[in-house]
């Protein structure tokens, strides 16, 4: 039990860290901006979900794939698939937002609260 938990979390570390290294290389070696990388990772996650690789990866490495933004895309793909199975073509429109709802709502809500509570930090030139 503990051993399998430890294995999964170490795999999560390795795969999650690996995804970050790929992004770092993309930033350092190409002209990709951070925003483009986030978009790229979400789209890649949808692709992983669409070809059926996302769920097996989740059961193998857990948060290594769900915590990086790839997981957001994978969730969208899963939501779309379930919605299409349930309500047909209309699911292509409803599934994505349904699956993304919690993450988006949480980020927007906490973002708004943070804007209420905190003042902007002076920008450092580095």
């Amino acid at each position: 039990m503990f051993l399998s938990m430890m294995t999964t979390s170490l795999l999560a570390f390795a795969v999650g860290g690996g995804l970050c290294v790929v992004a770092q290389l993309l930033i350092d070696k190409t002209a990709l901006t951070p925003a483009r990388i986030l978009v790229l990772y979400v789209s890649f996650g949808v692709l992983l979900g669409a070809v059926g690789l996302f769920e097996p990866l989740v059961s193998l490495v857990g948060c290594g794939i769900t915590v990086p933004l790839v997981g957001f895309g994978g969730n969208i793909a899963r939501g779309v698939r379930e919605a299409v199975l349930e309500q047909g073509l209309l699911g292509a429109l409803s599934g994505g937002f349904t699956a993304a709802a919690v993450g988006c709502a949480a980020a927007l809500l906490f973002g708004y609260l943070a804007a209420l509570c905190f003042r902007g930090q002076p920008k450092r030139i580095s």
Partner: protein, 146 residues
């Protein structure tokens, strides 16, 4: 003076980019966030949540922590070392939502915070949902024929 090509001449004079160091920190900190998320998942499961709910709760918790750390100015300081290590996890998405929201407070809560909060969230949500919709249409067509 030797007439070497401009680009290689520039390369000789620019300091070596610390790519290896950047990648190491990105790996350690990004991997660390995923590792912590995994144990948070086990904690929520131990508290009685289903696997799906626990996974959602991990996302919400990480987004909350990221918003808090962004608010007190700590997240950006970690990000300067971690680079992509704090960008790729969902905490980076949260940071990209919270940071413009705080910075544009002076522009008002409707067109400042309300609009700028989507600076990075907008593209991410747009392309995520767009890809999802394309997949949904293809999947419907496949279901039609199978």
């Amino acid at each position: 003076m030797k007439n070497e090509p401009y680009t290689s001449r520039i390369r000789r004079h620019t300091p070596p980019s610390p790519t290896k160091k950047n990648c190491l920190f990105a790996f350690l900190i990004g991997g660390g966030i995923c590792f912590a998320g995994q144990w948070l998942l086990y904690l929520y499961e131990a508290l009685g949540a289903t696997r799906d709910d626990a996974s959602t709760l991990v996302t919400v918790t990480l987004i909350f922590l990221s918003a808090l750390l962004t608010g007190i100015g700590v997240y950006d300081r970690i990000a300067r070392v971690a680079g992509a290590g704090t960008l790729v996890p969902v905490t980076g998405f949260a940071n990209a939502v919270v940071s413009p929201a705080i910075d544009t407070k002076q522009e008002g809560f409707i067109l400042g915070v309300g609009a700028k909060i989507f600076t990075v969230a907008g593209p991410v949500i747009l392309y995520g949902v767009l890809c999802g919709a394309v997949y949904g249409v293809l999947y419907s067509v496949i279901l039609w024929f199978v």
